[in-house]
């Protein structure tokens, strides 16, 4: 790790400097293409795959069924047919020994009977069969309130950031980066074809918090560095911002790894044990979101902020002087 530490030192002093700001046109292009793909590919693939909470229906999970019966998916379908003939059902295996059966929405009575029939078919007690009955509006309700929460949050956070940083430009840059994160995460969901469940919506909302959290940490360093900038400084505004990003790069890498490790634990280990479920859905959204959130702070939020500020007369003047001084030297 000594290598990593001295890498951090060089970034700090500016001995080593990655030109995040200078190459911003490239990052914008990449972001633009990524956003375009995130919108176009899911549409081409036929839209999002919504979970039962959005479409409505009945779902059963048989826990710990005997291994010999799990692999045979017709058992589940037959059990459903024995209660309601010609009812279509989707039978899938989740997490090794759990069987998930989804059907169209059933009446409360029929639902009970199907649970009983499944328990019998898989030789498990009825208490090991989980059943859910979900009206088609439930998922939409959750999402509706989530979207309302989102709008309120965005308005509040824009004000809070503008007050804290004393400039609305940081708020705008952070919000654009946030929109980029959300579109990309949603896009990856659509591209891979993962089911959109309320749990995924929760994960989505957390990205919101995390993405802004990460941006605030880096912006605070930018604020610290640029506040000492005067018109006579030898460094241009863009260079100062770039130094701030480089100085917090080690933090960004360390934090995202530390945040990703437990989530990866749930995603890869937990999902292997559990299969689909609330935890997997949340952790998947978070896993993607944290990577994208950290990336967009560095490659999108700070370059955008630089562009927003670069038209200000004071900064233009500072840049001209610094460049002129350098040309003289």
């Amino acid at each position: 790790m000594a290598g990593f530490t001295s890498f951090g030192n060089d970034l700090y002093t500016g001995a080593k400097s990655i030109d995040f700001i200078g190459r911003r046109r490239l990052w914008y292009l990449i972001a633009g293409v990524a956003i375009l793909l995130s919108i176009v590919i899911p549409i081409l693939r036929g839209g999002y795959h919504f979970g039962i909470e959005f479409t409505g229906g009945s779902e059963y999970t048989v826990s710990k069924a005997p291994q010999s019966l799990v692999s045979n998916t017709t058992i589940g379908a037959d059990a459903v047919h024995s209660v309601v003939s010609n009812l279509e059902s989707t039978v899938s295996i989740v997490g090794g020994s759990n069987v998930r059966v989804q059907t169209a929405q059933l009446s409360s009575d029929a639902s009970e009977k199907v649970a009983g029939a499944l328990a019998k078919a898989y030789h498990v007690p009825v208490s090991d069969v989980t059943s859910s009955f979900i009206g088609a509006t439930w998922g939409a309700d959750i999402t509706g309130t989530a979207v309302r929460g989102l709008v309120v949050f965005l308005v509040l956070v824009t004000i809070v950031m503008a007050l804290y940083f004393r400039t609305w430009k940081m708020s705008v840059a952070a919000l654009i980066a946030l929109a980029h994160d959300l579109i990309l995460t949603a896009g990856i969901y659509g591209i891979v074809g993962f089911e959109v469940t309320p749990a995924a919506v929760i994960g989505f909302l957390t990205i919101l918090g995390y993405s802004l959290y990460d941006t605030v940490v880096v912006f605070d360093k930018v604020r610290e560095n640029t506040s000492r900038l005067t018109a006579d400084s030898p460094r241009t505004f863009a260079e100062t911002v770039n130094l701030a990003v480089n100085q917090t790069l080690v933090r960004s890498i360390n934090t995202s790894i530390v945040a990703l490790l437990p989530i990866a634990g749930i995603l890869f280990i937990g999902a292997a044990l559990l299969g689909a479920g609330t935890l997997r859905d949340i952790s998947l959204a978070l896993f993607i979101g944290i990577i994208v959130g950290t990336y967009s702070t560095i490659f999108l939020a700070t370059p955008l902020y630089t562009d927003l500020r670069s038209t200000e007369p004071a900064i233009k003047l500072g840049t001209r002087r610094a460049l002129a001084a350098r040309a003289r030297a």
């Binding site: 309700d141 309120v152 940490v217 634990g265 280990i269 937990g270």
Partner: protein
């Protein structure tokens, strides 16, 4: 003269403060366990483990959407009334620890742990309504504890349930068949849950039921006026015909035109009868909430109920009457039955995954921060302890239940909590690179880091708070743990991490920058310059600079100290250097 407050004294104070907080939380939790109603020395009702949500514990969760007959969304008052009614039904069904809450404007979430009976589940879903019936018989009830497991009494089948003569009106005692008489005589309040269903399905039949407290039982005639005919109900202080107040709280009831006609017929009849038949019962959801006697025939549809009301009880009755005017039905949004087996596997794998994640975090920080990572681990442990205690406390006081989404929130918080330490450590390292001694670097690094930590945690907390206030269901559980851990993060970093660093900064192992301390100025490439200086801009790039850095790194501490003094002596301050360069 007050002694100067050194960082060490401050650090010790902070640690003492933290210890007080932890001890207070532990004491509160002990209090919760020891003082819980029903706890004896041997058995405890409460435990030190937080209660689990349905998705982890197993049970049935029903999400109902309240709907009024006029299609308008229910008011907050009506929703609260609904919750009260559903709670009554669930309690009568003998389900303990049920959770009933409103969410998102018109939803009611009913969580029934364990395996509730189908009858209980059905009773929860049925709509609630209010009716007026005449009282046929009433007496004090033989109470039995609410929700006792004993089967409700059923009269022998040999008794006839056919009236001997056809009843002529709602007060006709011909309704009291031998069967009903027997049922009434043996009726114990608190065992029967079917009164609400019975009333809803057979409004034209007599009904045996109790008041909500289970102290009075009634045999009532058929429904004579429906609650929908109530136009308005208010509470107020009664006035005499001269307009002087009597100081007595009353409930004023106004019927619509149909209701006025119906109530006129009933009250004209009842006023001539002897007690208890001169009483009419206001029945809400199968329970008699009030059974006033009629003093005079009310023909104009304006009734006044007086009695020993207080301001609160008069308002409560008026609210219930108004609620009755708009019967609410419930549409099932979702019904989940989670087997306890699935719940416990989920919890277990969630914990295993979280634990593995935590071990990885510790391993990584050990690589990055060497000995300093013990401070990280210690801080994480303190955070975990505080979080556990607060959640346990919330579970006791507020009935909070840890759900799967909540567990996810906790695991996510590991990253955010660890980030505070990373930001802080990196700032200290930055200060060391500037050439400060460790004690100074800790103080200066802290002043910068706490700003960042507060700003970023503020944004995170804002997100959690907005989600908690606006969202429904799982999202709320998630938001709560996220918000909670964000607050705890701030407490931990300022009352534990920083004081510990202040103290260890004096230890030679760290102060001299041992190779494994994680704060080794040599490894950090510190360049000793003037105190409080910040690095001059690096205009030169590439080979020149790298070789200069190399040379500096190869210097011994003594050489660097000498160089530092040389620079200070020569220029005094860094600003001069900058001007020179310009």
């Amino acid at each position: 003269m007050a002694r100067a407050v050194t960082p060490q004294v401050k650090a010790r104070r902070s640690l003492v403060g933290l210890a007080v907080i932890v001890l207070a939380l532990v004491a509160l939790n002990f209090l919760g366990v020891l003082l819980a109603p029903g706890a004896t020395f041997g058995t405890k009702v409460q435990s030190f483990v937080p209660k689990l949500g349905l998705d982890l514990e197993g049970g049935t969760q029903i999400i109902l959407q309240a709907q009024t007959t006029n299609g308008k969304p229910p008011t907050a008052d009506q929703l609260n009334q609904s919750v009260a009614i559903i709670r009554q039904r669930v309690d009568a069904g003998g389900v303990s620890e049920a959770q009933i809450s409103t969410a998102g404007g018109q939803n009611i979430i009913v969580s029934l742990p364990g395996t509730p009976s189908q009858a209980t589940i059905n009773s929860v879903k049925s709509s609630a309504r209010m009716d007026f019936r005449s009282v046929l018989l009433t007496s004090a009830a033989t109470t039995s504890s609410v929700g006792s497991k004993a089967k409700p009494y059923t009269p022998p089948a040999s008794l006839s349930n056919q009236p001997s003569t056809k009843p002529t009106n709602g007060s006709d005692l011909a309704y009291v068949t031998p069967y009903l008489r027997d049922l009434y005589d043996h009726y114990t309040c608190g065992q029967d849950t079917s009164a609400a269903q019975q009333s809803l399905k057979h409004p034209g039949d007599p009904l045996v039921t109790c008041d909500p407290t289970g102290t009075v039982k009634y045999l009532l005639g058929p429904v004579e006026v429906q609650g929908t005919h109530i136009a308005n109900a208010t509470s107020g202080i009664a006035t005499t015909s001269q307009g002087a107040t009597t100081g007595q709280w009353v409930v004023n009831l106004t019927f619509d035109s149909t209701g006025a006609k119906q109530f006129s017929t009933v009250s004209s009849r009842l006023v001539a009868l002897t007690p208890p038949q001169n009483q009419f019962a206001i029945e809400l959801d199968g329970k008699v909430i009030e059974a006033p006697a009629v003093n005079q025939a009310i023909t104009n549809g304006q009734a006044q109920i007086s009695g020993s009301f207080t301001q609160e009880s008069a308002k409560a009755l008026a609210d219930q009457l108004k609620f009755g005017a708009l019967p609410i039905s419930y549409k099932v949004q979702s019904q989940d039955t989670i087997s306890a087996t699935l719940g416990s596997t989920q919890l277990l794998s969630g914990l295993i995954a979280g634990l593995i994640g935590l071990v990885l975090v510790v391993g990584y920080s050990l690589l990055q921060y060497r000995t300093l990572s013990f401070v990280t681990v210690g801080s994480l442990v303190i955070s975990a302890l505080l979080t556990y205690l607060v959640i346990d406390f919330l579970s006791w006081r507020e009935g909070y239940r840890l759900s799967l989404a909540g567990v996810a929130g906790l695991i996510v918080s590991i990253g955010i909590t660890a980030d505070s330490f990373i930001v802080y450590f990196e700032r200290i390292r930055d200060e060391l690179r500037e050439g400060k001694a460790l004690v100074g670097a800790v103080e200066a690094g802290w002043r910068r880091a706490i700003r960042t930590v507060l700003a970023s945690d503020g944004v995170n907390f804002l997100a959690a708070a907005v989600l908690y206030l606006l969202a429904v269901g799982d999202v709320r559980g998630f938001a709560l743990t996220l918000g909670l851990t964000t607050l705890i993060d701030v407490v931990t970093v300022s009352l534990f991490t920083h004081p510990i660093l202040q103290l260890i900064a004096r230890r030679p192992f760290f102060a001299e920058g041992h190779r494994f301390s994680g704060l080794d100025p040599r490894a950090l490439g510190a360049v000793y310059r003037g105190r409080g200086s910040f690095r001059a801009p690096v205009a030169a790039t590439g080979a020149v600079l790298r070789s200069r850095g190399e040379a500096v790194r190869r210097q011994t501490i003594a050489e660097r100290k000498a160089a530092e003094q040389g620079i200070s002596a020569r220029t005094g301050s860094i600003d001069t250097i900058q001007e020179d360069r310009d």
